[in-house]
């Protein structure tokens, strides 16, 4: 079984706004996870309607809980151009997406869930968030994340 939950999911350049980014993300995730596009897209949008998922340093963490049998999946996407109309808590345009999908009935003690929790705890560390934000490519961001999680 593949224990790696983090994946590089590059998006096509020139997404002009949040809605189109979510749409492009949904299409990629549906493709990777072999799920129906509307299931992912509606779940991501539903979460966004409840309240923003932005952090700081130009990072956003859209996420979706889906009623499907799917693995925990975290997609890392570096946007070639920041989305000027989608801003983080410090008013920086969003340029790095950490999107995750979890199945509705996932066990809280599943190794993938524990790894995801550990990762989000790391996002409480300002220095790590800054380093992550400076990643130019998905590969660089993934390397940082892997190393950080190995330190724990």
């Amino acid at each position: 079984m593949d224990n790696n939950i983090f994946h590089a999911v590059p998006l096509a350049p020139n997404q002009p706004n949040k809605a189109e980014v979510i749409q492009a993300l949904s299409a990629s995730l549906a493709d990777h996870l072999q799920l129906e596009l509307p299931v992912i897209q509606e779940a991501l949008l539903a979460r966004e309607r409840l309240g923003g998922t932005v952090l700081t340093a130009g990072i956003a963490t859209p996420h979706a809980t889906v009623d499907r049998d799917t693995p925990v999946y975290v997609a890392i996407s570096c946007l070639p151009q920041p989305i000027l109309t989608w801003r983080d808590m410090d008013d920086n345009p969003i340029h790095l997406l950490i999107t995750f999908v979890v199945p509705e009935n996932v066990s809280p003690t599943a190794p993938a869930v524990i790894k995801l929790k550990q990762f989000f705890r790391c996002l409480a560390q300002g220095a790590f968030v800054e380093m992550l934000s400076q990643s130019d490519t998905e590969t660089a961001a993934l390397a940082l994340i892997t190393h950080k999680l190995e330190e724990i």
Partner: protein
């Protein structure tokens, strides 16, 4: 060129996460543990920061993020033989300070030319900078200018390799390989403890050991420091109140004279006395004219921290215990003696809010009682007294953190709350879909903190916060906790 050992160590640490003891690293790199202990400060000096972090009881690990930034600098500038030479010259200068040393005598054994000497001087200046010390060249002489306490810090860390992570047990364990001076200084610690029938705990013992070692080497070089006029009168009073401690100092000076077959400068016994009365000695009451002031200061700490953090710690519960730290701390402040706090980072992470409160109290107290600035290391020690009380007595607010998954942002918020709100216990982190079930399992929850609006808060107070738990979020939570 970087030496191979440095490359090997950094490569190993960068490809293996976690902590490794010097013994483990020594086995991997096929060198001695002492070599690892010597190599780490060299690498950190070249990096200009703590690239290889050491923690007591855990060993060494790489600061990976810093490594990514400074890798090139360390890999290209650390010339081992040059660093050893620079450290040797620096040792001589520090131990001879405030006196000057002839440049040819300093470099005689290294057979190097003027350009190398000038390069070494620049490097030594860089090494000294963090200690607020300056290298002064006057004709063909060099000397180090700066305050005595800074010279001691540099000697302890650069020459003796005694840093915040060192403890005397480790040093005792390694004493067989150490110089006779180190073994002698360690023995004097035992002499002091036996005469006082008491224990000098960490980190006071490390400080005292360092002082004896430096005294030995300065005596050998004929360096004499005069007692500062402003403290001479006060010392006489303190000696009269603490004859047992003074006897220990006289005995240690006698032992040093026998060991060196040389006379120790007469004022050194007073410096030794300053160190001992500035230490916390378990089961031994230090008498001081400052006793009443120390008690007032201890009370003021409790008042100020209570006010700053909206706490209600009773004076009676803490003052006596806190005073055991404050009394020797006053002596340390008076005598410009620094006490490193190995746990400062952990204290900051675990009790950040409390530490900030104590640090603020330090400013107020230093002003009110006309004291020199009280260091963050001291603030860390004092914070632990408050933390201990709060852990034992305080009823914490029990909170449940909620987001849509119970996995993502709520974990981020939990990590921040743990750091910033010492008065709360996080009962659990859950999805909004499981909130009712969770409350049935753990009914004694005081407050809900959520990243999404809750349709039903089940009669409990709730606070909506952002995914990054900003300062404003923290204030909102505190207001609700305070019933505002």
């Amino acid at each position: 060129m970087t030496d191979q050992k440095t490359r090997d160590l950094l490569t190993y640490l960068s490809t293996n996460s976690g902590f490794f003891t010097s013994k483990e690293l020594a086995e991997v790199l096929n060198v001695s543990p002492k070599t690892i202990q010597r190599l780490v400060p060299k690498i950190n000096a070249a990096a200009g920061d703590l690239l290889v972090v050491s923690e007591k009881g855990r060993g060494y690990r790489l600061n990976y993020e810093l490594y990514l930034l400074r890798r090139d600098r360390v890999m290209t500038t650390n010339d081992s033989s040059a660093y050893d030479r620079q450290l040797g010259v620096l040792r001589e200068l520090l131990l001879t300070s405030p006196n000057s040393v002839r440049i040819d005598r300093l470099f005689d054994q290294y057979y190097v030319g003027e350009s190398v000497i000038q390069g070494d001087e620049r490097k030594i200046e860089t090494i000294l900078k963090p200690y607020q010390l300056k290298l002064i060249r006057e004709h063909r002489f060099l000397r180090i200018a700066g305050q005595e306490k800074d010279i001691r810090d540099a000697l302890m860390e650069l020459i003796l390799k005694v840093d915040k992570e060192s403890d005397l047990l480790t040093m005792q364990a390694g004493a067989d390989q150490s110089s006779a001076d180190v073994r002698f200084a360690l023995t004097q610690m035992t002499v002091a403890e036996k005469m006082l029938k008491a224990i000098m705990p960490y980190p006071y013992n490390v400080n005292f050991f360092g002082h004896i070692y430096i005294l030995l080497n300065r005596t050998r070089r004929g360096v004499k420091l005069s007692l500062r006029n402003e403290i001479a009168g006060q010392l006489t009073t303190d000696i009269a109140k603490n004859p047992e401690i003074y006897s220990v100092c006289v005995q240690i000076v006698t032992n040093i004279e026998n060991y060196l077959h040389a006379t120790v400068a007469s004022d050194e016994v007073y410096y030794l006395f300053e160190y001992l009365i500035s230490s916390r000695i378990s089961n031994f009451g230090i008498e001081s004219a400052e006793k009443d002031t120390a008690m007032q200061i201890s009370r003021r700490y409790v008042e100020l921290v209570n006010a700053e953090l909206h706490l209600s710690i009773p004076q009676t519960a803490m003052v006596t215990e806190l005073n055991r730290h404050v009394l020797p701390m006053l002596n340390r402040l008076k005598n410009s003696i620094r006490l490193s706090n190995a746990l400062l980072n952990e204290i900051e992470m675990e009790y950040g809010k409390l530490l900030a409160g104590v640090t603020h109290a330090n400013l107020v107290i230093a002003t009110e009682f006309k004291l020199p600035p009280i260091s963050k290391d001291e603030a860390g020690f004092i914070t632990l007294y408050f933390a201990k009380y709060m852990e034992m007595h305080q009823d914490k607010t029990r909170i449940l953190i909620i987001c849509t998954t119970g996995i993502g942002t709520s974990e981020l918020i939990a990590a921040k709350i743990q750091k910033e709100l010492p008065n709360v216990t996080i009962v659990d982190v859950v999805s909004n879909l499981n909130l009712e079930a969770q409350l049935n399992r753990t009914p004694n929850v005081d407050l809900l903190i959520s990243t999404i609006p809750l349709k039903n808060s089940f009669g409990l107070p709730s606070v909506l916060v952002s995914a990054v738990f900003t300062k404003q979020d923290k204030e909102k939570v505190q207001r609700v906790m305070n019933g505002d």
